[in-house]
Symmetry: C2
Subunit: 335 residues, 2 copies
DNA sequence: TTGTAGGCGTTATCAG
DNA sequence: CTGATAACGCCTACAA
């Protein structure tokens, strides 16, 4: 349907212009010093004038290698993953690896499609952001035989390498902080159920039960927004008028809850203590500053990329599962 | 260096397993009905058991077409572009087109690299998010001969098609709203200077000057964060203690400024009116609700993708530059 | 319904 | 330092 599209210049076109064979041009492109000076200058000129664009397809076809790695993100709108990508690329870019990004809206089926697509481009490795995958995803990865790093949490059945942190322990820690401040009627608020939300809820219940308290939670399938945090606060208050604390699965919900509380004249933290997770910038800007789990997301990205490149370089990996830990930021919202 | 990597199964492998030629397998994969039933079942089984992964390289190589379009994003952490991508994919996915995402941190040089990379994969079209490009970027795109849509603003020298809105007029409108509320000493706050920040500042000055007032602005090269909004507020107050309004280049800064003002006991909007741009969810969650320019970002994505696919389908484009307009949300932060 | 031949653009390999 | 040849995996075109 688009027969009129100009054919792109190839090595052959450059070669003809210069009067050498494409082989010489190919050499020039990979290492200019490998051709004679006179030839070099003429090729350089021809490449420039034709606006040559390299074509990866033949290379991929014959090498089955691409110097590209695929990154799978659950969501583009979650700040957390922007930081992970930054960490990854701080390692891959200097090493000359390209990154191909794909997102899948937290859906394992969509993740499968996206992985199939990346594999069809022969990426040399994959960095995943989830621990739940379809059977076909696992099989495709096994067939491709490329190294994989699962990031963020710890899969019960790892595909290959893992770089994560213990969300359950972190949530336990944060819940204990709330308990230490005397908050015994905390409610856990969760949105779109991804693995991390569930793990944090488990950590919350761990801590509550260890303290001899029953926990309470409110979940929704909607994706997290600030306004949703406000709505969940209202719902929680209606259901449990005596609540004295909120532990939110992320900072978006938590900040939304703080704002709604303040708008309604509920003092934070005096009447209700509020904690979040991920420690986004907005939690530092709001007053009171938001207590939050500090996730080492950029470090996770860096470490994942480092492991992957090490494996691609044939180095043995002594410790394929790495826990990057976490810290708790107490802020001013716990009382 | 990775000679031990398993070779992936090819059509040939499947064919040998089944006892047909790869041509038959190829046909089966594209249209199972085109193969005899008995053959079909045996091929299906073999495909499954080998975990066959399609390989795009040969196809790209021989067709110079990929059914993929490249999307260039200035930043992964800016919510605005997540919405644009969603709009694009709501059109491209049903049409069977893949999207390849690349980001360039607002740097034209990095944009150039990323575009080169996408072109090397033979994307069929490009959707850009900026109007400033290097010379080489323009040349590469011309050489590739593929359709391009520039989105968000209106380039003075468009490459091809354009889907945007008038940021300058929008900023003029918002400034006029501030003026209508009697705010004559408004300051414009800008962060990392991209084209939109500059256009909005121009719109602000347009309106101030039309009202016979001198404008004031405070710019920084840092990227926008909520805490930065607070800091800029402080700086502005120090420099112009009499300021009665802030117009921020985006909602992040504006929300940060509101929070800092509130923490310092400055009433918004009574003492200082505050406006932002982009109309993110947080502006609706905060109290007072933030006045903001409502940018039709998802619509921009949809329209851009629709134009691009129309062109790829060979349809004539009657109107290659489209203005999707804007609205102003007054919220409660203007007084 | 299935098979054969040839080509897409590049690089590895071997010659000169 | 440069050239010739073959190969990568799939699809189009043609043939049986």
């Amino acid at each position: 349907m688009n027969e009129n599209r100009k054919r792109r210049p190839t090595l052959q076109d450059i070669a003809e212009l210069v009067g050498v064979t494409k082989m010489t041009v190919s050499r020039y492109l990979r290492d200019p010093a490998s051709v004679a000076e006179a030839t070099r200058l003429r090729i350089a000129e021809a490449v420039e004038s034709l606006g040559y664009i390299p074509n990866r397809a033949p290379d991929i076809l014959s090498n089955a290698t691409s110097r590209a790695i695929g990154i799978l993100l659950p969501s583009l709108s979650n700040q957390v993953f922007a930081a992970v990508v930054q960490g990854i690329e701080s390692v891959t870019r200097p090493a000359g690896y390209q990154t191909l990004l794909a997102h899948y809206g937290y859906s394992p089926e969509r993740e499968e499609e996206q992985i199939a697509s990346l594999l069809s481009y022969h990426v040399d490795g994959l960095i995943l952001s989830d621990s739940q995958h379809t059977e076909r995803t696992r099989k495709m990865i096994a067939t491709a035989g490329i190294p994989v790093v699962e990031t963020m949490d710890f899969p019960s059945d790892p595909i290959d390498m893992v770089v994560g942190m213990d969300h359950r322990a972190a949530a336990r820690g944060m819940t204990n902080l709330l308990l230490a401040r005397g908050r015994t009627r905390t409610v856990y608020l969760g949105a779109r159920l991804d693995v991390r939300t569930r793990l944090r809820m488990e950590g919350y219940y761990d801590a509550m039960q260890a303290a001899g308290l029953e926990g309470r939670h409110l979940l929704t399938g909607n994706s997290s927004t600030f306004t949703l945090g406000g709505e969940l606060l209202e719902q929680a208050l209606e259901r449990w008028p005596d609540l004295d604390g909120l532990f939110c699965t992320n900072d978006d919900l938590a900040v939304g809850a703080i704002m709604r509380a303040q708008a309604r004249g509920i003092a934070v933290p005096q009447q209700i203590a509020i904690a979040g997770s991920n420690s986004l910038n907005i939690g530092r800007a709001i007053s009171p500053r938001l207590a939050s789990i500090v996730t080492p997301r950029e470090a996770i990205g860096r470490e994942a990329a480092t492991l992957l490149l090490a494996r691609l370089g044939g180095q043995p990996i002594d410790q394929p599962v790495r826990d990057l830990g976490f810290t708790l930021f107490e802020g001013e919202s716990l009382g």
